[in-house]
């Protein structure tokens, strides 16, 4: 039975931090606003989506909850979203007003990644459950704070990637389940090496690169650019910095690695049984990176203490390589298996442990979701370790217990990065 933190607010809790009072709202639950005879619909989950410009529009269509509010700092995006929804859905430009709404039980966070940590923490403090886009956080430090806050407030948290428990796994040609069964059978031996790259079915989308020749442009009237930047450094507006192409800038994301990394690497972490740890060595081969604009890299190797390796191949040089290789066997794309040099088909393998894959059901039962704040932080850490090594242009050593780099103060400064203005975690 899941245990709930000792000071857990309910999923209908009104904002406990008096933020609403600061704004002139009184902190009363919706049943009071509705009068004495009001009966709250006991099973209906109220959802708010924060960030409705790109990925967030998809969130509006997820079944299982009723959208009651949307939020975006771009008035054009906000209007477009509201026009597509039922009358009665509220629209806001400031996520904090959304968190003050008693009828919101769950927030979906689909902003650029530099906001994910801040909004997740604020939502947890406000008593909301959280469905967050990947990457979970832009920095390792923000991830640690999200884990602390979600667990302190007993919230249900999920990341918006799912391959560890359903759907075909990109170009690999299978779901992750049979791969897990093969790994767990021990037939491949241990430790294992996993190669993630174009030849094993994964595209690192290097087209998400930034530009180094941006000149300041007028800010569009419908965009609150100051709020869009939020905690990120104050740099002059250019359309390439925002709305989809933000992915090409270190201040907000980390290129294709930041954008797709958790999709590709979370299942690997699950397959290797590394949900509670991180690699101890990170090796990198990359050209020098600009301080602002992300560009490509060639190879990142992450090694765990027990010898397991994850190789991120950015050049597509792994032709003919297996997806997973161990001392006794190899598993190729398309689920082709070789054990001791012979092709083999394994049947009758035991089922892996069940995973909770229905988020709204978890909201009701308070059971932890399959990809939650804890294992999500670890798989996001894989992404962030790769980003830091690429930016620094050197190999690194990492302590997965203390969650800090060994003997590299400059790398450690990337764990918690200063935020602009009043924003902080």
């Amino acid at each position: 039975m899941n245990d709930v933190s000792k000071s857990t607010p309910s999923r209908r809790e009104f904002l406990s931090r008096s933020a609403a009072a600061a704004f002139g709202f009184s902190i009363v639950p919706r049943h009071v606003l509705g009068g004495l005879a009001f009966t709250a619909p006991s099973d209906e989950i109220g959802r708010a989506v924060i960030g409705v410009g790109g990925m967030g529009r998809g969130h509006l269509g997820y079944t299982g909850a009723r959208t009651v509010a949307v939020c975006d700092v771009d008035k054009g995006h906000l209007k477009s979203a509201l026009d597509s929804l039922d009358k009665g859905v509220k629209g806001f430009g400031d996520f904090r007003e959304v968190l003050a709404l008693p009828e919101v039980d769950v927030v979906h966070i689909a902003t650029p990644p530099h906001w994910h940590g801040l909004i997740s923490i604020a939502a947890a403090e406000a008593g909301k459950d959280i469905w967050c886009e990947k990457p979970m956080t832009r920095t390792i430090g923000e991830g640690r704070r999200v884990v602390e806050s979600v667990q302190k407030h007993g919230r249900i948290f999920r990341i918006n990637t799912w391959f560890r428990f359903k759907d075909n796994f990109y170009g690999f040609g299978s779901t992750v389940k049979p791969i897990k069964q093969i790994v767990d059978s021990g037939e491949l031996g241990w430790p294992l090496k996993v190669t993630v790259g174009s030849t094993t079915g994964f595209d690192f989308k290097f087209f998400w690169s930034g530009k180094t020749d941006l000149t300041p442009q007028p800010i569009p009237a419908e965009l609150d650019y100051d709020f869009w930047l939020g905690p990120a450094p104050d740099k002059p507006y250019h359309p390439h910095r925002v709305h989809q192409t933000f992915r090409g800038y270190w201040d907000y994301d980390g290129g294709g690695l930041g954008d797709m990394g958790m999709h590709y690497l979370d299942p690997v972490q699950y397959l290797l049984g590394k949900d509670d740890t991180s690699p101890v060595e990170i090796e990198v081969d990359a050209p020098q990176q600009d301080a602002d604009a992300v560009s490509s890299w060639r190879r990142i190797t992450m090694r765990y203490a027990d010898g397991c390796e994850i190789i991120l191949d950015g050049e597509g040089k792994s032709e003919g390589q297996p997806y997973i290789e161990g001392p006794k066997g190899k598993l190729y794309k398309g689920l082709r298996l070789e054990i001791n040099g012979q092709e083999k088909v394994l049947k009758g393998l035991p089922e892996p442990a069940t995973q909770e894959g229905d988020f709204y059901s978890c909201v009701r039962t308070r059971r932890r979701f399959a990809l939650n704040e804890s294992n999500g932080h670890r798989s996001c850490t894989l992404v962030n370790l790769g980003k830091i090594a690429v930016q620094l242009g050197r190999n690194l050593r990492y302590d997965p217990v203390k969650e800090e780099f060994i003997g590299d103060e400059e790398a450690n400064r990337q764990i918690f990065q200063p935020m602009r203005g009043a924003w902080r975690v």
Binding site: S16, R17, S18, A22, I27, P236, V284, Q391, P418
Partner: protein
């Protein structure tokens, strides 16, 4: 030329030559950026460091304001490369040189974006040597952010002293950022995020005074904050409530508790309750429990909606009373939710006791025993919901008994509870209820519960499968579907065989046969497909044969990840007797986008009876439908598509295949 000229001209020439040589060297150094790999980048940075302070100064001088559009790309890359090179372990000497160069450049720069660029790199690699220069940035609203960020990253005692010294002297607009840097370095938790308050560019003087007060901590600060309870300005009151979060413990809570007792306005008392709920000292928790007894519903609700954990456990007597005898339906709902959030086992024990004493199963064969007046169904459901949330297996007998409750909603809640806390001991009562269930949703709940109870007990599952299979052999048309659905829930070869037999049973009608086929088509494991395929050997009636063929394809499609097409689907093609059956088979295979299905179509491409349909089916199976659904790209399938395209007279089909082949080539 006079004597002075004879002296100075050579000197001037020497200086000019040295300057020209130096300038050429800086350009050569910059030409190496960006480095194409770690070794090249390190070598380029080392060369700059070796060229010394003048080279560093020249490179920094080439940094242009942000609006230059990349005209200074090479020097920017050089500076950022140096920041990483000099920050690496073992490069301390280089770091000192680089830091000094950035500090000097920052001092010479006049444009704030250039100062920001240097400060950003001191965030990465700066140390105490950079503190005074960074502190100088704090005086100006245009540069306080990068200066404070770099000092925050450096985080040494010297950085802290510099920040503190500036706090007293800088303009108001700069203070907040400095204060934040001090809090971050000290590891203080972030203040919660309030709407508008943190965003306000010009906070009111009273709010600034409160912020300053909170830095003092202590009883005086707490008393002054709590005095805001009687303030008429809700923004000021809200700010005070918010800031109390920074004064931990009883010191922060007690003045507000006193203020709450004195407040006449229930909305104010409710706000204070909401704030107290976030605190973990005993005084706050006791006040929260006391608020459950407030005269005003607003205040009681404020407490109910936030109470949880150990506090809920302590307050359970009041909470149970609110569930049993609520002032309103919403109060009951909130009290129930609060109990569901309680820690400890006492809450579950009490909920179990309350339901059990009125359960029909508690009927006593005792002379004179009078059953207690039952709680209304909503209350009985509440007890069971609490057991679902907080109960353990030792309480499972209570929901098992509740399966006999008069109320359908209570029975459904009992099933839900058993799925969470039930075990092997509850299988029989659930099975008995399954047999007796009249409504579809109860039958479904019972099946789901049996699946959950036997999930880890293969023997129990096998036993239930055998019993259901046995019942199916003699079931009527009315009862047979119930057992079929139960067998489908469990899956496996035994159940699949029983359904295959039912599909052919002479005692059942065609509608029931169809139900059996449907259940086999949606069987949860490959046993279903194997049985359906085998049925074709035993069935003669054309319509049923078509149904079987369709069921084979449905089952193959459902399990397409794991379906062994070669072993289980392709052999069906040998059993097809006529063109109609072949067409049904091809149509089914065409809906499956998997290489095995496409290959199973292959033999029909040369069958004169159905060659056209086979070509369409292959295209349906293999060709792309959209950017996200790219279809099949295996070489043998592409060759077959090419063959179909060449032979076909259907222009639309040819166009579709060509589009797919073009897309595969492009990718």
């Amino acid at each position: 030329m006079n004597r002075k000229m004879k002296f100075f001209v050579p000197v001037l020439m020497a200086v000019l030559m040295a300057t020209l040589a130096h300038a050429a060297t800086v350009d050569e150094l910059l030409a190496k950026f960006p480095g194409q790999n770690m070794a090249d980048t390190n070598a380029a940075c080392a060369a700059i460091v070796n060229a010394g302070v003048p080279a560093l100064a020249d490179i920094c001088a080439k940094i242009l304001p942000e609006a230059s559009g990349g005209a200074d790309l090479a020097p920017r890359l050089a500076v950022s490369g140096l920041a990483k090179y000099c920050g690496a372990p073992g490069h301390e000497a280089a770091r000192a040189l680089f830091t000094q160069a950035l500090v000097d450049a920052m001092g010479r720069a006049t444009d704030p974006t250039v100062k920001q660029f240097f400060a950003f790199h001191l965030e990465w690699t700066g140390n105490d040597a950079a503190v005074p220069a960074l502190a100088a940035l704090l005086d100006n609203a245009a540069t306080v952010q990068p200066g404070a960020a770099a000092l925050e990253a450096i985080g040494t005692p010297a950085a802290v002293e510099a920040l503190k010294a500036k706090l007293a002297t800088v303009p108001e607009a700069c203070k907040a950022r400095i204060g934040k840097a001090l809090d971050v370095i000290a590891g203080k938790p972030a203040a919660p995020v309030a709407p508008k308050a943190a965003k306000t560019k010009g906070p009111s003087a009273r709010a600034i005074a409160l912020e300053a007060l909170v830095h003092e901590k202590g009883e005086r600060a707490a008393n002054e904050l709590a005095a805001a309870a009687s303030d008429t300005d809700p923004q000021y009151r809200g700010a005070a409530l918010l800031l109390t979060g920074r004064i931990p413990g009883k010191v922060g809570s007690v003045p507000w508790i006193r203020a709450m007792r004195a407040a006449k306005d229930p909305a104010v008392r409710a706000q204070i309750v909401a704030m107290l709920a976030t605190r973990d000292d005993d005084s706050a928790q006791k006040a929260l429990l006391a608020a459950l007894r407030d005269d005003d519903m607003t205040v009681r609700s404020a407490a109910l909606e936030t109470i949880s954990g150990g506090v809920a456990e302590k307050g359970q007597k009041v909470l149970f009373h609110m569930v049993a005898e609520p002032a309103s339906s919403n109060e009951m709902l909130e009290a129930k939710q609060a109990l569901k959030r309680a820690t400890g086992t006492a809450v579950a024990d009490e909920a179990a006791r309350r339901y059990a004493k009125q359960c029909p199963c508690a009927a006593r064969d005792i002379p004179g025993w009078v059953p207690p007046k039952p709680d209304p169904p909503e209350t009985r459901r509440a007890w069971l919901e609490i057991l679902t949330a907080r109960g353990t297996d030792k309480h499972a007998h209570v929901p098992a008994g509740a399966l006999q409750d008069d109320d359908a909603a209570v029975r459904l809640e009992a099933y839900a509870a058993l799925r969470v806390i039930g075990g092997a001991g509850q299988v029989e009562p659930v099975y008995t209820s399954f047999l007796a269930a009249k409504a579809d949703n109860e039958e479904a709940a019972a099946r789901e519960t049996l699946a959950a109870l036997t999930k880890k007990d293969a023997a129990a599952r096998d036993s239930l499968t055998a019993r259901a299979a046995e019942k199916l052999t003699s079931a009527s048309d009315a009862d047979a579907p119930r057992f079929m659905r139960l067998l489908n829930t469990f899956g496996g070869a035994t159940g699949a065989k029983a359904l295959a037999a039912a599909a052919l049973s002479p005692t059942l009608t065609e509608a029931t046969h169809q139900e059996a086929l449907h259940q086999l088509a949606v069987w949860p494991d490959p046993a279903g497909l194997a049985q359906i395929s085998a049925l074709l050997d035993s069935v003669e009636v054309a319509a049923i044969r078509i149904s079987i063929i369709e069921a084979v394809c449905d089952a193959a499609k459902r399990g397409s990840d794991s379906t062994d097409f070669a072993a289980t689907v392709t052999p069906v093609s040998a059993k097809l007797r006529n063109a109609d059956e072949k067409r049904a088979f091809l149509k089914g295979l065409g809906s499956i986008r998997v290489v095995g299905a496409a290959r199973a179509i292959t033999p029909f491409l040369d069958d004169p009876e159905v060659a056209t349909e086979a070509g369409v089916a292959l295209a349906d199976s293999a060709c792309m439908k959209s950017e996200k659904d790219k279809g099949l790209a295996d070489l043998d399938i592409l060759l077959l598509l090419e063959k179909v395209k060449t032979a076909s007279k259907d222009k639309a089909l040819v166009k579709r295949i060509q589009a797919h082949l073009d897309a595969v080539k492009k990718n």
